[in-house]
């Protein structure tokens, strides 16, 4: 059966084409498993081999390509056969190749690809990209074409650029429906996604742009019409993107890679994609946030990447993810950390004087009350130690616990006094002092005559201010003295 090839990079098979006899005989040998080391030395095989080699120099392109395919099939039989074939092909590949003719049979195309792998020629690269993008290419053959195509380019960006161009060209040529385009892209993607993720080729300047083109722009904007296909396609693409971002650092730094998610989600508007899609989107965004964090750790605010992540998962989700990381990484510089979480520069922190004053006034009052509490008679280390001495012989364990607490009392007093001192707060008047009653400083029961002698029951506290009268923070509680 003759298949008419519609690909312009290859020539259609002439209607009267047929396989050269020598090539047919070689295939026969392979099929009958007679292509053995022993056969190689026979005269009949030597003669056949000579005729096959002649076919490689045929003026008919079709004959050349079927011969190369048949040789590929022969090479797969055994190592000696491979050596024999490779020697012949290597010699032939030194010369220019005729115009490519796409073979009708899938297996033949596979063996043709295998044979071409050793041809380091410019023509083979074009053929490889054409076959990689072709609708009919089977997965096995496509993988071989991938090896061929990838070996001919210096970067992933150029690889994808060539592939995208080829896909666009064939799409236009074949006038495929959205669903067909989608199916073909899925087939291509299933072959190249591992390569994109793990290749040692450098990414190239336009890698992100080409990734976006491959996963998004090759498809009609509205996506495939069949719902199931749309779901499957989006899911597969998301898994591939996830793999790409996880394994290829360059991809994880490319904002355009993350923008693919937004574009794929757009297929569903105004409805929403499946939960699986959103789970993958979240996963990819999480990977992106890790990269964003890596930049942030170096003090770099990668704005385009953050914006792309916002488009991928939305600001609230991104903020949650970044917040969680920022909280666990205290080494992030404050300004960078703020940007990392919020996406905007931290505003210059301004102070409101009077609000500060209010807070400080409240703080001073708390300190004053703390100071009064720790100096009360029932919070006294000496008293407690005396009590411990009296009970330690009969209750040693309990005494030990109280001894620890007693030490803590000393420590608490020490820090309370230190805080109060630093805020210039002191007790005034002190407990048990006898003072002249002044209602602005003292608080007492009933009406006590101003200036009369009173006993301080609970200390008050005041704040000393240089050059000004002290500020009373807590009034002392006083009792009238009998006889006054």
């Amino acid at each position: 059966m003759i298949v008419m090839d519609t690909d312009s990079s290859s020539t259609a098979i002439p209607p009267d084409s047929h396989w050269p006899e020598a090539v047919m005989e070689l295939r026969q040998l392979v099929q009958e498993r007679r292509l053995t080391k022993e056969t190689f030395n026979t005269d009949s095989f030597q003669a056949l081999w000579e005729r096959v080699r002649d076919c490689l120099n045929s003026v008919h392109a079709y004959e050349f390509w079927v011969t190369v395919s048949a040789l590929g099939r022969a090479a797969s039989v055994s190592k000696p056969a491979e050596n024999l074939v490779n020697a012949v092909l290597a010699k032939r590949f030194e010369k220019p190749l005729p115009e490519f003719v796409n073979l009708p049979d899938g297996e033949d195309r596979f063996y043709l690809a295998k044979s071409l792998e050793q041809a380091k020629r410019d023509e083979t690269s074009a053929i490889a990209f054409s076959q990689l993008a072709s609708e009919e290419t089977a997965e096995k053959a496509r993988r071989v074409w991938l090896r061929l195509a990838s070996s001919s380019v210096p970067s992933l960006a150029i690889f994808l650029a060539k592939l995208n161009q080829e896909i666009e060209r064939t799409t236009e040529l074949q006038n495929l429906s959205a669903d067909s385009i989608c199916r073909r892209l899925r087939r291509i993607n299933s072959v190249i996604d591992d390569f994109l993720a793990t290749s040692e080729l450098e990414a190239g300047e336009t890698f992100g742009k080409e990734v976006r083109w491959f996963y998004l722009l090759n498809l009609p904007a509205s996506g495939p019409e069949t719902k199931q296909l749309r779901d499957d396609c989006a899911k597969e693409f998301m898994i591939s993107l996830s793999k790409l971002v996880r394994l290829n650092f360059a991809a994880s730094t490319e904002p355009l890679v993350f923008e693919v998610i937004y574009g794929l989600r757009d297929w569903w508007r105004p409805a929403s994609p499946s939960i699986e899609f959103e789970t993958q989107a979240h996963h990819i965004a999480k990977l992106g946030v890790r990269t964003l964090h890596a930049f942030a750790k170096q003090g770099v605010k990668n704005k385009p990447l953050r914006e792309a992540l916002v488009s991928a998962c939305g600001e609230p989700t991104l903020r949650r993810l970044t917040q969680a990381i920022a909280e666990s990484d205290l080494s992030l510089e404050e300004g960078v950390s703020h940007w990392f979480i919020h996406g905007v520069e931290a505003k210059e922190i301004k102070s409101v004087r009077s609000v500060d004053a209010l807070s400080l006034a409240k703080l001073d009052e708390y300190i004053a009350r703390l100071l009064i509490s720790v100096t009360s008679s029932d919070f006294d280390q000496d008293t407690m130690e005396q009590a411990i001495d009296q009970v330690k012989d009969i209750m040693p364990d309990e005494a030990e616990v109280f001894a620890s607490s007693s030490s803590r009392i000393g420590q608490i007093k020490q820090w309370a006094n230190a805080i109060a001192r630093s805020r210039r707060i002191s007790l005034t008047p002190e407990r048990a002092a006898i003072v002249a009653y002044d209602p602005s400083v003292h608080s007492g029961s009933n009406k006590i005559n101003i200036g009369s002698k009173v006993l301080v029951r609970t200390s008050g506290a005041a704040k000393q201010i240089e050059g000004r009268p002290s500020v009373i923070l807590v009034k002392a509680e006083v009792d009238r003295l009998y006889g006054q």
Partner: protein, 535 residues
């Protein structure tokens, strides 16, 4: 006045008295009409309330302070006339795209030399003089006067349910004004003149111009009185500004009763053209200013329902509104759902009292004993701090003068009758407001402001669905502080609920108030054209 006019006036009075549910106050014209019928001459009518003081010590004020030639529109001032404390903030107005700069306007300095943000909303009439703000508080403490003597919270004269245009007919109580000189309106004018003067002093300190536009916040009013109240409030503000500008020395700390009386009467008599109305920007509903941060955060192309709950010291106010963010407009628009506005005269002070009583109850002291009264007085001074600690830590330890320590848990306090009743009332007014504003929405935004913004009732309101008349809905808590304010002024975050009206009201992109509506928005359903047959 002849008999015909007197008859006409008294018929009107009778009509007014019939429809009034409360007391009916007489105007001076009505009193004259009564004199005509009673046959007395005016001068001989015994009265303990002089209407107007005769000019004394050549004090012949003329109230003439028309609009200034130029108004500074690069800044906006907001005067927050609060129930317990008044505050003022100014804000730069460089365009809606830039983050504005806030200027806190402090009312002098405290004894530690620090600026004071809060001005007590208080007046004291004592010994022939009227004291304002800090001076009133200081005098009140020095003379150890009874609480009734203090004119505290004059704002209550103009809260929900009050007709501001009638305040001139309402005298201050005898305990507050033994001379019977001043009306409630006078007290408002006097205090607002003092507040304006203090705010303008602060503007000078901050290097800002005095002739800047000022907003003033007002509480929610009944639908029927909103227009007249707004008009009267604007007039009162204009009089206050004129007085403080023309006679600053009278309003710094205190003035004589005679001068104060003459000034308020002259100001009241001044024509509108002689007052600086142009300095007044739009009046701002307190709820709009307090909830500014949340309201401005309404998502683009969305219409959202809000309930703003302000739990202050003396009153709890609730207001409802619908906010619309149309990106084509410069500012978010807000429409008050007027019937949602409610106020109860119970709030933070009731919690203070409940906590105080609980501590005293646990102390075991017998009520009405000297010890009990003493502990009560001592505890009262620090009760707000104790309350704050209690709600932050879920427990507080209060020390009595006797040295005893009393521990109170938050469950104990919220289990008291007073608190259960307060929280239940708050829940009820919030539910009513939320149901009114919700329309078809199942979720309504709640903005909590005031000193009680962090009380457990707020959490309770958002945790449990609200149910009324078979309708269920949920509240979603929204922060009242605008994002850029919290970013640029982190020290404002904690006290913001107390400063929300003053700060929010000064923001240039404050939501624009549009006409009030009577309920939330519901889908009217499909409309069908029906055939009309004409004979």
């Amino acid at each position: 006045m002849d008999n015909n006019i007197a008859t006409f006036i008294l018929k009107s009075l009778l009509e007014r008295a019939k429809i009034s549910n409360t007391q009916t106050f007489l105007t001076s014209v009505e009193i004259n009409a009564l004199h005509v019928f009673l046959g007395d001459i005016e001068e001989n009518i015994p009265s303990d309330r002089p209407m107007v003081f005769e000019p004394v010590d050549n004090f012949l004020p003329q109230i003439l302070y028309p609009n200034p030639a130029t108004i500074d529109d690069e800044h906006i001032l907001c005067l927050d006339f609060g129930t317990s404390f008044s505050k003022a903030f100014a804000c730069s107005n460089d365009g809606l795209d830039d983050d504005p700069e806030l200027f806190d306007l402090s009312f002098g300095f405290n004894s530690a030399g620090d600026p004071k943000l809060l001005l007590p909303s208080e007046l004291l009439i004592h010994d022939g003089e009227v004291f304002f703000g800090d001076a009133a508080r200081a005098k009140f403490e020095v003379i150890e006067a009874d609480q009734d003597r203090l004119i505290d919270g004059p704002k209550q004269y103009m809260t929900l349910g009050k007709d501001v245009s009638e305040l001139q007919q309402r005298p201050l109580s005898k305990s507050k004004d033994p001379t019977g000189t001043f009306s409630q309106r006078d007290a408002l004018v006097l205090f607002l003149a003092h507040l304006n003067l203090k705010a303008e002093d602060a503007l000078k300190d901050r290097g800002l111009k005095l002739n800047l536009l000022r907003r003033y916040a007002h509480p929610a009013w009944d639908k029927n009185s909103t227009e007249t109240n707004s008009k009267e409030m604007k007039r009162i503000m204009a009089e206050a500004i004129a007085l403080s500008r023309l006679f600053p020395e009278e309003f710094h700390t205190h003035t004589s009763i005679e001068h104060a009386s003459i000034l308020v009467n002259e100001a009241r008599a001044a024509s509108d053209n002689d007052l600086p109305h142009a300095l007044l920007s739009e009046s701002v509903l307190e709820a709009t200013a307090a909830g500014a941060g949340a309201l401005m955060g309404t998502a683009a192309r969305k219409r959202e329902a809000y309930v703003v709950l302000d739990i202050g010291a003396g009153t709890t106010d609730v207001a409802g509104c619908i906010c619309i963010n149309n990106p084509n407009n410069e500012r978010v628009k807000v429409s008050e759902v007027a019937p949602a506005a409610k106020a109860i005269r119970r709030a933070g002070n009731n919690l203070d009292n409940a906590l105080l009583l609980l501590i005293l109850e646990k102390s075991g002291l017998a009520p009405r004993t000297t010890e009990y009264e003493r502990e009560s007085a001592a505890l009262r001074k620090g009760i707000r701090s104790l309350k704050e600690i209690l709600f932050n830590d879920n427990f507080v330890v209060a020390e009595l003068v006797s040295g005893d320590l009393i521990e109170i848990s938050v469950e104990e306090l919220t289990g008291t009758k007073a608190v259960i009743s307060l929280f239940s009332d708050i829940r009820e007014i919030v539910t009513d407001a939320a149901i009114l504003v919700s329309g078809d929405d199942k979720v309504v935004n709640l903005v909590a402001t005031g000193g009680g913004a962090n009380l457990p009732i707020i959490q309770n309101l958002t945790d449990q669905p609200l149910t009324k008349n078979g309708k269920n809905l949920r509240l979603r808590l929204k922060s009242s502080i605008p994002k850029y304010v919290s970013d640029a002024y982190p020290n404002l975050i904690d006290p913001y609920p107390q400063l929300a009206v003053a700060v929010g009201g000064a923001l240039p992109n404050l939501p624009q108030q549009i006409n009030s509506i009577s309920e939330g928005i519901t889908d009217p359903g499909e409309k069908h054209l029906t055939t009309i047959y004409k004979s």
